[in-house]
Subunit: 422 residues, 4 copies
């Protein structure tokens, strides 16, 4: 992780960014009823109120306690309740039981946030020059961390609402014209050879994007947009979920064990396909990108389509050539949109599964101390995804950004881009 | 089930009772934060808001819909969400997922209750004379049903709070003098011979208390109070949880699988025993009755003590000789209390495990239609408990009342009374 | 347990019986391939070779070690491997892992048996007069114990073979005329009143049959034969497995969880019903008694048929009036047979589910020491069955004999007899 | 997969090799009792008799049926019983239930093998010239397949014996001098740059070793021998299994869930460490390589040692520089041995965990038809291991050979070689 420019930043500047990020988390929760804050519909998700508390715990643990000798923790047990997985910090509440905490109440958690915010403001403004570089580094890390949890909030609320037979809506979306057609998919030729990947010098990056290093690629081609619901429906109608030869062995096992036969949020009512979205149940748009598919489904679809998934380096190098814009959370749709002319859907819309298992770059060094648990310890059994999605803040991602999920995970905003060797 | 007197009641009288029962359920929830309403800490418990809705669904399903042709259900899906287990009424939301419903919100459920209450008032006041007996019968059943859920509310809230590392209190109890001594336990001689058990003619009774019939008993003796924490601690300190010869085979399996070594809500901090109560964590009183033990623990304790548990008929016949008073919910303690001189703890304090598996009385007839699912289908694998407890309304129980739980259940207010053959 | 007459027996007489019982166990295994000896197809069953060793361990543990100071155990670890569940004797190999022991080999276990047999012969012949009563008591217990395992051998081998897609046969049965008709079922009127049940004075009985005591019954009627496959098929075709109102709640749960839709060993091939038997797969005879049903199925069938299951006392009193004969293992069919004129199927054919949970008789005293674990600790969550079956030795059962299985168990030779109140 | 030289081979030559491979499988089983043939101690292992049958099924399915129109299968259901995982061939017996098949007996399976061998001999000798290349290709594949199962036989028998409290020995090993010291570990400097990996032109290779392609490496160092038991014991004594910071998150979860605290086959008796081997329980040699560790343990050890695991390309390139010799099955030890002077343990001894997730090489093409299920569908969630082990036939491996196991697997002969960047 590195944030050279941040360290150079003036405390006031960073403090303003702090306020914005913190306010954004709360704004995301504004449409929720108190009832919605506590739900954990699967072990992988967390209750919204837990997210709100945990990101505050991060500032408390990695900034306030080390840098402010006078800091008084809000509550002696929050250390236990809101530590996510930092084994080296201390014991923590089991992940699967985050939904069993009716106390602290939502109201208390907002007071906890205010307590932390006040202390953070003091800390930043009164920081000594000697402490500033280390503190600024951790502050920027904390803000990026909170932005990641903002994305999780959208994902998790969607899942929480989707398991409810009432299929509630997080927000009311204006009726969209679902008749839009996606443009025809073409291919972009990409060169082989030796290329650098990984975070470049300017700006913040997580430790897992480093060190920048060279990779050797072969010539290949990338699809110039994401796979659509209509295309994926063809796969389904061609018995895609019934043909073992299309699937990885572990994928076939998941499919049978979990009864997969469509993407996560699809359901059929009276012969019509619907999709659960953050604006409730909507008729499925065939033109929109297919989303909430596992790696196994993406991989099987690609095999069925006579293609493959891109490698993470292939995708990063393509992203590095693109302007950083797309359908991000800033657009307010919270859903991928139809690929129109000129839109390659490179950034935004959906996190794109790559065929690359999440691992360490050669020479990788985790952060020192407990922050070293941030990324490195997850470098096994997960797959890399790239490009950000419709609930990611635009400024949060970059070409070198590495997201990762287990191959069976489906509740993230994930999609499929095809690739080919020739 | 039978309620001859109720049918003779004037509608206004029953309506007054309806209002009281309904208000009581809401009063029980008054100390809860909105956050507390949705928690389901184990599959056996239900979220408070689910209880509040389900008891209303009962009136809606068994009274409003059959008797009021103009009744408009509050919400088309509540039938699915708040049916508990009535397979013959229709499909229902899986029990284990009751805690996953953030919607309807608590506020909506209170509106649902008001909607049902208004419709019930109309129904009762405008009921034809011809319908009245059937309607009155179901109304009284519905009220008894809601009272049962009131008791469940206390049990479930206690469990929900106990899994929370903060150990919150449902109410603040005045400091009790924990130095009280329980009086010495003596024995009551009870005669053998043929005796009638089951509900007698006067007053409401559930179908499982009928028909009244004769049983043949042998002479025996019953302890004249419940087993105390202090006595149970001796069992623990005598390696009671480590001696397989004291346990039923299934009990020993449960003990090892679940890691039991003390009653459900005990914990030791710095060498001192504490007990989670509805008023939070309190130092264990050795004089108070031991509670939240499973049948297996009660049975093992009795064996260790050289005694046995009473049969349900033995206990019923004793209860029938006692005045209907004791430490019920009306006392406002929500916890069993020390047995003082003259207090046999026959009614109230704790549901007493009997050695009798829950089954049908000879000639048992379940209620007709879906109401037949109320009791009869549970007559397997559970054990009978008698006498009511500290969260039961006093007027709700009677000598013939049969409660039942699985032998491994511990979250109810259960306790131990010893018996002997000689 | 009591065996007054045995104690009076001459050692030579008992020794002859010992030899017969021991030889019978080995004869039962004669048709098995070495491969068949080690299989444990479900946790409830045991590998044949484990049965052969365990019954020898019983003699070793309860007779040879206590009574013969010079006895040299065959192998130091057999104590651990072949103790079934006697917690007070010492630790033992987990039940679920009995099928994972390829060693000792079958050949070694036969040598173990011979070693025990030789030592037993010495022990019996050289026993002092003072030791004889205690030793004879245990010897008779050990023989009854081995006879119980003989029955388990048939049950377990049947299950082991049934899970094999090849559906092997344990023995070749001569083609039976399956066209036989069962006679029409009638009812036997039975009186109410006070009656004694439990083991009477003459002959061996297990501790759970004691003490003999009086029970109070109501007038009732018992079906004069078992329910047939044909009758049960009507239940199936009437959607018996699809109607929740017919089932106990726990039964309905089992049915859905395990996918029950027919009795354990039925399967349909090309529209024809077959039944797995110890002589392999055979077309289902509609006239034969339905077997391998759980208590839940028996109970649901009875409810569907407008009847109920008998209580254990009702059945015992009827059995006490019948001659002790029927289709036992001695007949060599290893399968229930069609009820012909004059055959009430009271004894033999199938263990009959009763509606009585297995529990202690009033005044029950388990055997002293580790043998006390024989019966008493299982007195919870199981149901009593009566009358013996087609793989029980005729002399092994009696009217007061109490068998017991969990209500979901289906691999025993269990059947259904109906009862009615009027 | 490719086997150019084999196709050129004369049928007689290949047939001789066929006979050798087939005889070797049976020789491996010679020390087994009939009882040992049927055991499946965990889902991942298979009973020896299943291995013997499955490899024959492979020849039956992929050679005899397609090439010999007159071939009569030995048994109509063996297709179902002995298909391992070829979904496109047809349905198959569930993996977890392979241990539940007492029939066919061991004797029948040997007859099955003889039947297949006779048919194979005919097929090879009478094959038309036109068919020969395709047939020879599949024959060589089948022989390599059977060799893989030979290795599995050793692994699985070891596990089957290790779960037995008697700790039986597969063979009696002459007493080894366990006082041998391993030489001091040094480092081999390895160059960076672009290098080719993957199977080269000469000789058989599996499809997953192809296509040969270039990789870009950085300079690095490889340990010149495997990690020893003594070194690993230091890790244990330094609380290696108790320090979460050393472990991947999934590894830490496995460790806690499965209770890992030593390698798979270690146990401590009276304070002395022992290790289960194919010659039974032996005192742990501190000088021998540590074996039967999971990827998670290998990775945690490397982190503790301030090093890392090698990448698969790094190891392949090193192996390509080494002579193909080492402690293979041919040595008859069935256990890794102490690294003496000059022995880098590059080939043989133990499969070495690499840090590389098992995936497709760029341009990978699975075999056509059902044989395409051989390797490709497992390219997810597993890690690559290199170099062969002490139960691998020497001629079976090569520098490009890719073995793969799940990161939690421990029953294979796996070990640890360290690497460093500098």
């Amino acid at each position: 992780m590195r944030s050279p420019e941040s360290i150079a930043d003036h405390p006031e500047t960073l403090l303003a960014r702090y306020r914005t990020v913190r306010a954004t988390s709360e704004a995301i929760c504004a449409p929720l009823a108190t009832d919605d804050y506590q739900l954990q519909s699967i072990t992988e998700t967390s209750p919204p109120k837990w997210h709100l508390a945990h990101v505050s715990w991060f500032f408390e643990t990695f900034l306030l306690k080390p840098f402010d000798p006078d800091y008084r923790p809000f509550h002696p047990r929050f250390d236990y309740l809101f530590n996510s997985y930092y084994e080296t910090v201390g014991s923590f509440h089991p992940r699967a039981q985050r939904g069993l905490l009716s106390r602290p109440t939502v109201e208390e958690i907002y007071r906890y946030r205010a307590h932390v915010d006040a202390a953070m403001q003091r800390l930043v403004l009164e920081c000594s020059e000697g402490d500033w570089p280390a503190l600024a580094f951790r502050l920027v890390l904390g803000l990026n961390h909170e932005e990641q949890h903002q994305e999780l909030l959208y994902m998790d609320v969607k899942h929480n609402f989707a398991v409810n037979p009432l299929r509630p809506a997080y927000f009311d979306r204006a009726e969209t014209v679902v008749s839009a057609q996606a443009r025809r998919q073409g291919w972009v030729d990409r060169p082989g050879g030796i290329h650098p990947i990984g975070a470049s010098d300017n700006g913040f990056a997580f430790d897992n994007e480093l060190p920048r290093h060279e990779v050797l690629l072969r010539e290949h081609r990338l699809a110039d947009r994401l796979v659509t619901n209509g295309e994926y429906l063809e796969f389904i109608e061609d018995e895609g979920y019934g043909r073992a030869d299309l699937w990885l062995a572990d994928g076939w096992f998941s499919l049978r064990q979990r009864g997969w036969h469509v993407p996560l949020y699809w359901e059929q009512l009276d012969g019509v396909w619907y999709e659960m979205t953050l604006s409730g149940l909507r008729p499925l748009s065939l033109a929109e990108p297919v989303c909430h598919v596992s790696y196994y489904e993406a991989d099987a679809y690609a095999r069925w389509a006579g293609a493959r998934l891109p490698g993470e380096a292939e995708l990063e190098l393509m992203l590095a050539d693109q302007p950083l814009r797309g359908n991000f959370v800033d657009a307010g749709l919270f859903h991928p949109r139809v690929a129109m002319a000129g839109d390659g859907q490179w950034f935004g819309d959906l996190w794109e599964w790559t065929s690359t298992p999440y691992g360490a770059y050669p020479g990788f060094q985790p952060l020192e101390g407990s922050m070293g648990e941030y990324n490195g310890k997850f470098m096994c059994n997960q797959m890399v995804l790239r490009g950000g999605c419709c609930v990611t803040p635009q400024h949060h991602v970059r070409a070198s950004y590495r997201n990762f999920f287990y191959p069976h995970d489906r509740w993230a905003f994930t999609g499929i881009r095809l690739a080919r060797n020739e």
